[in-house]
């Protein structure tokens, strides 16, 4: 079957060469109806990085994005063929397919009337296409060893689909499952695991995939009812109902309509009801677990989300052969994200704490193991190195580094505000020394904005602030600063006339 072969090849291409993604809406040959669908996909991204995510979508999928007023969400249209590529996006946390969007929903006056409207709404929405997408999507995802889900291939087909289409779809999906299980996009492990445990998890996983594929026919005869739940997010001041009430009533109507079983923990389908003032979006989730925990197996006390790390790296536009350093790497989230996505640059991760350095090294070796399992060939090294050093005295040559990206200690969970008063200026100075004058840049994340502003104010001759992104990190209002290194070369204080920053002298 040439159709299936083509589709399989496309999938494999996508998995193996991420950097060469191009959107191919191939018109060649007859395809089953479902693959010509255009769908609207919504994605949650770290707040503040909506524009960066929109840029990534435009670059990798060729679609333009709509950034919603509801902070942290973007929407874009793609054809079903590109669904696998959507999972390769590095700046999004969670994905969902939009069932319907109401730009200006008119809420009735009383709570009862509003809730009744929601119940009636459930039956009127165009569910069939999004559910098709959801089914295709479930084939891509990793089959978790923890939760035994009912294979979606066995679920009851919608009443309006003809038998012919059903068979073709199922065949296509079986092919997908078999080929994808070898080169699947493995989700990140849930527990910080030592190397041996990690390999076992992967081993179990692959066996379970093969088992499930074999048991396909058997399971089809088994229970066909899907389990679902409704999650409602509500933001806005003029609503007379709560998110729980909306979820409950909407969920009740969905259950009546589809005859699915409601299950809050062990669900197959997650229906999203997002309400922001007068804007309502109904969607079906495509990711079970947020994609932000990829790459990291050994977590530290303040590990940065990989999606945020990606956003920060993208902000400084790394060029090929740039040398990128994270002098306070912690668990190494930023250099590891960088070495997978920008493998034509060289990354160095450093920290003064031996625990952190060890965790970073462990994360790198877990990643190498993961890549080896995924691609089934001898793992190639990554362009990354780990060093234990003191940021106030970096053992690097002057002007040798192109980019510095780091998550500075906020002074809350790590370090203290008092220490920051000495640390920040010393950091900035040392970073300006190693950074290449003229072309060098730095992207720094911090919540201690006051201290940072003061530290920066004394260094206008070395650093120029170009851009600020306001982000929300676990409830804290933090900022990501993009700095450019001025062309002025670094002069040692011994060659100057005893000029010192006033707050550095005394504690």
């Amino acid at each position: 079957m040439s159709d299936v072969q083509e589709a399989t090849n496309q999938l494999l291409d996508v998995n193996l060469c991420e950097n060469q993604m191009s959107v191919q809406v191939t018109e060649s040959g007859p395809r089953s109806e479902s693959e010509h669908l255009q769908v609207t996909i919504g994605a949650t991204v770290p707040t503040g990085f909506e524009q960066t995510a929109a840029d990534e979508v435009r670059e990798k999928l060729g679609s333009s994005c709509k950034i919603s007023k509801d902070r942290g969400k973007i929407y874009f249209d793609i054809s079903v063929d590109s669904l696998a590529q959507v999972h390769c996006l590095r700046s999004v946390d969670n994905l969902f397919v939009v069932v319907q969007e109401f730009k200006d929903y008119q809420f009735k006056e009383t709570k009862e009337e509003v809730l009744k409207d929601f119940e009636e709404l459930a039956g009127k929405l165009p569910w069939s296409d999004p559910l098709k997408i959801w089914k295709i999507n479930t084939c891509f995802k990793k089959k978790k060893t923890k939760r035994r889900k009912i294979n979606p291939n066995s679920s009851k087909e919608k009443t309006d689909k003809g038998q012919g289409d059903t068979t073709v779809e199922k065949d296509v999906k079986k092919e997908f499952t078999n080929s994808v299980s070898d080169s699947q996009i493995l989700d990140c492990y849930e527990n910080p695991a030592i190397k041996e445990e990690v390999s076992t998890l992967i081993g179990d996983d692959l066996t379970s995939c093969k088992d499930e594929a074999e048991e396909n026919s058997k399971e089809e005869a088994d229970s066909e009812v899907l389990k679902f739940r409704v999650t409602c997010n509500r933001a806005g001041e003029k609503h007379c109902f709560s998110s729980n009430e909306a979820a409950r009533d909407f969920g009740g109507a969905v259950q009546d309509y589809f005859k699915w079983k409601a299950d809050m923990t062990n669900f197959d389908v997650e229906v999203l009801l997002n309400i922001h003032d007068n804007e309502i979006v109904v969607g079906i989730a495509l990711t079970e677990e947020s994609l932000h925990r990829r790459n990291i197996t050994h977590f530290g006390p303040t590990t940065l989300r990989s999606t945020l790390a990606y956003g920060m790296l993208r902000l400084c536009a790394p060029q090929p052969t740039d040398i990128i350093v994270d002098p306070m790497c912690g668990t190494g989230a930023i250099p590891i994200e960088g070495s997978t996505e920008w493998s034509n640059c060289y990354h160095i991760a450093g920290d003064n704490n031996p625990l952190a350095v060890n965790r970073a090294a462990n994360n790198i070796s877990s990643l190498l193991t993961k890549i080896q399992v995924k691609e089934g060939k001898l793992s190639l090294g990554l362009p990354i190195d780990t060093i234990q050093w003191d940021i106030c005295n970096l053992p690097l040559r002057t002007g040798s580094i192109d980019i510095i990206v780091t998550d500075m200690p906020f002074g809350k969970r790590m370090g203290s505000k008092k220490r920051n008063w000495n640390l920040y200026p010393a950091c900035l100075r040392e970073m300006s020394r190693v950074c290449r004058p003229g072309t060098g840049r730095a992207v720094l994340l911090t919540q201690d904005k006051k201290c940072f502003a003061k530290a920066l104010s004394g260094m206008g001759h070395l650093w120029r602030k170009v851009h600020t992104v306001w982000v929300n990190i676990g409830g804290l209002h933090a900022a990501v600063y993009l700095l450019k290194r001025t062309p002025q070369s670094f002069v040692h204080p011994s060659e100057q006339d005893g000029e010192r920053c006033p707050w550095y002298k005394d504690r």
Binding site: P320, T321, L380, D385, Q388, R397, S494
Partner: protein, 121 residues
């Protein structure tokens, strides 16, 4: 530690002119890890690194002889670039002692991770 990193390392005492470059390598365990070959990357890196230092480091590890001079039109000579790529990225020093030429301080590398904290003095 890859040799590219070694090329960037230099001891620097605050307030004094930078010293301590290059660091002497005394390696006890070296691995060769294949890394994906990217000719453009290597060609551009050649301009950024200090080649004499790199060659000296490679020689001290008793590796295959790397050609000293860059030949004309090296950007298109795949063989030449491959050899340089091997030296830059594929040699991984796992156990070693680095010594600062000026102060004589020793910095160990263990399991591929350097410890460059000044407390080693």
């Amino acid at each position: 530690m890859k040799l590219l990193t070694h090329n960037l390392l230099s001891l620097h005492v605050w307030g004094v002119r930078p010293c301590g470059f290059p660091l002497h390598l005394q390696a006890t365990e070296v691995h060769i890890n294949p890394v994906e070959f990217n000719p453009n990357f290597v060609a551009c890196m050649i301009l950024k690194v200090e080649w004499e230092v790199l060659l000296e480091a490679a020689n001290s590890l008793h590796l295959i002889k790397v050609p000293k001079e860059t030949i004309q039109g090296y950007k298109h000579d795949k063989k030449f670039l491959r050899k340089r790529h091997h030296t830059l990225l594929e040699v991984d020093v796992l156990e070693c002692i680095l010594q600062c030429p000026e102060s004589g301080c020793l910095f160990p590398i263990s399991h591929g991770i350097h410890n460059m904290l000044e407390t080693e003095i």
